[in-house]
């Protein structure tokens, strides 16, 4: 039996989707793409446990997606002193991950340099539009929210409204 492709998610990406009320789209993506969405325990701790402790309601929405099984949590035996950025990269390599979903400017470039395909939340949404799983009007609504919540900069609005498709290469920038 062929093993499902694995996509790993960073807290930045999960928090972005939570802040724009788009976490449910992960389930749509997972079913259509037939991929496994994974997070290491360090990411779970950060965006769920620490979030709940800090009183961030969006962390409960992320927790719900994990409880529903849309996103699975798995751990790798790693030194406890390893920074979460490193845990993400090492876990991705260990699990044979092809794609990393991340909304952190520097981290996505680091991941791209390591050979992973990187997708930001806005590109994740655009992919859904291209596959017919999200209509353009909803896409624009989510894009507005991403800009309003400062997940992407306002000066990129036109680019994301107009550009239908292109693969951005972060590894060389």
């Amino acid at each position: 039996m062929e093993q499902q492709e694995i996509t790993i998610l960073d807290s930045s990406f999960l928090i972005s989707l939570a802040k724009i009320d788009a976490l449910s789209l992960l389930e749509v993506f997972k079913k259509k793409a037939g991929v496994t969405l994974l997070i290491p325990y360090a990411i779970y701790k950060e965006c769920v446990e620490d979030g709940i402790r800090g009183g961030y309601l969006d962390s409960l929405a992320i927790k719900k997606q994990i409880e529903r099984g849309t996103v699975s949590m798995k751990d790798v035996d790693l030194p406890s002193e390893l920074a979460v950025d490193e845990v993400l990269m090492v876990s991705a390599a260990h699990w044979g991950v092809k794609t990393v979903f991340v909304d952190d400017q520097l981290l996505l470039k680091k991941a791209a340099r390591k050979g992973f395909i990187v997708k930001r939340s806005v590109e994740f949404l655009r992919d859904l539009v291209k596959k017919g799983d999200l209509n353009r009007s909803d896409y624009l609504k989510f894009l507005n929210r991403l800009i309003k919540r400062r997940r992407i900069s306002e000066d990129k609005r036109t680019l994301y409204e107009e550009v239908a498709d292109e693969n951005l290469d972060y590894s060389t920038s």
Binding site: D50, V84, D103, L106, L107, R120, R150
Partner: protein, 85 residues
């Protein structure tokens, strides 16, 4: 605790007294509070610049400022800094 003796211009001293009264503190505590704010603001600006210049990730920014990941994320939003450009 270190003891610091400083000389202030009359005008600045009056402003400091006014500041301390507004906060219901004595002048020494008001000065300490103000110094802490200044140090925090300086650290914050440095950390945000480092993030903008792609020298640190969001997690590293959080570590620099002693914040949780969520707090650092919230700080960038409040400061109007886009996570991704």
């Amino acid at each position: 605790m270190k003891t610091l003796t400083i000389q202030l211009p009359e005008k600045l001293y009056e402003l400091l007294v006014s500041y301390s009264r507004k906060r219901g503190k004595d002048v020494t505590d008001a000065l300490k509070e103000y110094a802490q704010i200044m140090v925090w603001e300086e650290k914050k600006e440095e950390a945000i610049s480092a993030y903008n210049e792609e020298k640190v990730t969001l997690r590293e920014l959080a570590d620099l400022l002693g914040l949780s990941y969520w707090e650092a994320d919230e700080l960038l939003e409040k400061e109007g800094i886009a996570l991704i450009r």
